[in-house]
Every structure is written in C-alpha cells, then in structure tokens.
C-alpha cells in the first residue's frame, strides 16, 4: 500500500457500514495504542522520568498511570516493589 492510498483506506475502514470491519479496526488500533503506551512508559521510567512527569505528558492523573503500569512493571521485575 502506498502512502498516498493509506489515508483513503483508513477513512474507508473506520467509516465502513459493516460493524465487523469498523469494530475490528478500532480493536486493533486500541491494541496498538496500548502496546505503544507500554513501550514508552517503560522507556520513560528507564530514562528516570517520575510517574508525575509521565502522567503529565499523557495528560492523565498520576494515580491512573501508576495503577495501569506500576503493578505490571513490578511483576516483570522492572520496578522495585516499594514504589
């Protein structure tokens, strides 16, 4: 797919009358978004960013970003448990 065609395809897919097509597109975009958020939160922490700074960059509360990522990071050993 060329770059020129991509925006038209995106517009077509996310406005398709068939719910299965549109919902699938939304699902995969959300999964991609979640994965990219995870990747960049991990990178920010590795770079020494505070939870507060990450929360501000994502325009969410510190509590919500911490809840979403801190437990997961502890499980995988990326975060110390006393945080």
């Amino acid at each position: 797919m060329t770059d020129r065609k991509a925006p038209a395809a995106l517009a077509a897919q996310v406005t398709d009358k068939d719910p299965a097509v549109g919902l699938r597109a939304v699902l995969e975009l959300r999964r991609l978004l979640e994965e990219l958020e995870r990747l960049h939160v991990d990178n920010a922490r590795a770079e020494g960013w505070s939870w507060q700074a990450i929360a501000e960059a994502l325009q969410v509360s510190r509590q919500s970003v911490h809840e979403k990522h801190a437990a997961r990071r502890k499980v995988t050993g990326l975060e110390k448990t006393h945080d």
């Binding site: 065609k5 991509a6 597109a25 699902l27 994965e35 990219l36 991990d42 979403k68």
Partner: protein
C-alpha cells in the same frame, strides 16, 4: 485488567513464572489471547505444587500441550500468529512489521509485541478464583496451587476438558491441590 494486575502483586515468584509460561504458550501456538488452557500449560511447565499435583495425577506436560493445541484448533481457535491483527492495521496504512523493526532497534529486541496476548474472560475469572482460594485459606500469597484450583474452578471449562480427555480424575486432582495448599 486493572484488578488482575493488582492481584499479581500477591503472586509468588513461581506463580509469576507460570503466567509468563502461559503467555509464551499462547505466543507459541499463535494465539492472541491467554486462555485457561494456556494457564494449565504454564502451570505444568513451572516448578511448584501445581506441576507436582498435575504429574501425580498423570498429567504430563507434552500430553497437555498437544491435547490443548488439538482441542483449541478443533473448536476453531484461530492460530494467526498475529497476522489478522497486522492485516487489519495494514489496511489502515499502519505497518506493524516496520514499527517492530524500529522499536527493536531503539529499545531492544522484543520490546514491542503486537498483538500482545491478553487474558481471556475465563482466564481472568480463573485468576480471581485463585485469589478467593487464598482468601478462604487465610493466605496472603497466591502460589501455583491456588492458580491451579482457580483454573479448575469453572465446571466445563475447556482446560478441564483437556484433563478429562487425558483420562485425569479432575475431582481427585482438585483434592490433591487443595491439600497441598493447606499444608503450605
């Protein structure tokens, strides 16, 4: 998912390893979710009371893996290895392969996983049931034996069908897991 990640805090190191094993099993089989069958495989391939109990009742890892894979494909579980998800994004003009290559270069190999297998509803329920097992026994931590009882909690679950197909007495297996839990 938030509740589940909070529960993870209470997992023993072995229980955490079993979850990683379950995710690896899902990725290996090309599935984009972690189901109770994957949890069962993860428990079988991790040291601990659950794999001991499974082995004591004749549930060997290789037999579990092949029976689970066979039954999942028989009931139409797609083993797409992420292709369907990547295709859906490619029609939106998003090249997942290119993102992976660049992420690997910037952040290290494997830092970007798409689609990352997420817990199925029944797997989430199994994890919650394992927490209830721990609570009922007055225990803080969730070990592999609690997880196994959580997987075996829902009557008729596909993971139970895998064990039954292998000729394993699930009621007796539950009893063994429960007695090891109470000893531990």
């Amino acid at each position: 998912m938030t509740e589940v990640t909070t529960i993870y805090d209470r997992f023993t190191p072995l229980a955490k390893r079993a979850i990683v094993g379950a995710r690896d099993a899902a990725v290996f089989l090309g599935h984009d979710f972690i189901g109770t069958e994957h949890l069962l495989i993860g428990l079988a391939l991790t040291a601990g009371l659950a794999s001991e109990a499974l082995r004591a009742h004749g549930a060997e890892l290789t037999a579990l893996q092949s029976e689970a894979a066979h039954r999942m494909s028989a009931r139409g579980v797609a083993a797409t290895h992420g292709q369907a998800a990547a295709d859906a994004l490619s029609t939106l003009g998003i090249d997942v392969g290119e993102i992976r290559r660049r992420a690997d270069a910037s952040f290290g190999t494997g830092s970007f996983q798409f689609p990352r297998p997420a817990f199925s509803l029944s797997a989430k329920q199994a994890v919650k049931a394992s927490l209830e097992q721990a609570r009922a026994a007055g225990q803080e931590q969730i070990g592999t034996e609690h997880l196994l009882l959580g997987v075996l909690a829902a009557e008729g679950d596909p993971a139970i069908q895998v064990l039954t197909a292998l000729g394993i007495d699930v009621a007796a297996l539950r009893q063994t897991a429960l007695s090891r839990l109470l000893e531990g």
